[in-house]
């Protein structure tokens, strides 16, 4: 299983982390699942971080914003396939908080490390299992120049 994304969209979510530094950014990946559970991202939707009490080390996306994104995606036959956020001056690895707060099984959680304001590494983690057994697995990010190139992989 892999997360397929155009370079321009990957750059978009990485630069979001630079714009919000030293705070965490967050957003939603909208796209399609194929029969093998690979995901192709069609749109990256930047969201506001509602954790204004601790934005340097926490993020939260408003459910109202999620509903709007889910509804607009469904209108064009797409789904929410994952989420992204940044780790300011911290590795691009999931934390225990990330796992505790993750509930979208089958979706990708993309994390970008932003060091001194510059996006460095971006990794994707696939959430698997049920609430009691949930865990992240490393997920390959396949970066293409175009959607056609991604779909031909």
């Amino acid at each position: 299983m892999a997360l397929r994304i155009q370079k321009i969209l990957l750059d978009q979510l990485r630069s979001h982390g630079e714009q919000t530094y030293p705070h965490e950014c967050c957003g939603v990946l909208v796209g399609e699942f194929d029969e093998a559970a690979n995901k192709t991202v069609q749109t990256v939707v930047a969201c506001g971080n509602t954790r204004t009490d601790s934005p340097q080390n926490r993020y939260h996306i408003s459910p109202a914003e999620l509903i709007r994104i889910q509804r607009e995606a469904a209108l064009v036959g797409l789904d929410i396939v994952g989420f992204y956020h940044s780790h300011p001056d911290w590795p691009a690895k999931w934390s225990s908080t990330d796992l505790d707060e993750a509930h979208w099984t089958g979706c990708s959680y993309v994390i970008t490390s932003v060091e001194k304001g510059k996006a460095v590494l971006t990794n994707s983690f696939l959430l698997l299992g049920e609430e009691q057994t949930k865990h992240f697995e490393d997920e390959v990010i396949e970066v293409g120049e175009t959607i056609q190139e991604q779909q031909n992989r």
């Binding site: 699942f33 080390n57 993020y59 939260h60 459910p63 509903i67 979208w104 959430l127 049920e130």
Partner: protein, 92 residues
């Protein structure tokens, strides 16, 4: 005409892979009960053992969080859409 309940991606495996389910109900609570009666595997993903909605499960009637309406007793009519949205959060 029934009420539409939108099912988010992670819960679709427990709802016959459907993105929405239609129910007949007069309140949001009745709608959710009808939903888990149709799809019993959904129950443990929506409700804790005490029967309350799990803390990370948000339920909206159209654009309103039912926590700020009348919760389970929130009236629902045929033109309404109920959305189930697990929370998205994390941090270092």
């Amino acid at each position: 005409m029934p009420i539409k309940v939108l099912i988010p991606t992670p819960l679709r495996p427990y709802a016959g892979k459907q993105s929405s389910v239609e129910v007949t109900a007069k309140t949001v609570g009745e709608a959710l009960n009808s939903l888990v009666t149709q799809h019993p595997d959904l129950r443990k993903h929506l409700f804790a053992e005490d029967g309350k909605l799990r803390s990370f499960v948000n339920v909206y009637l159209n654009d309103e969080d039912i926590r700020y309406l009348a919760k389970d007793a929130t009236p629902a009519k045929e033109t309404d859409t109920i959305s189930i949205v697990p929370s998205v959060a994390g941090g270092l």
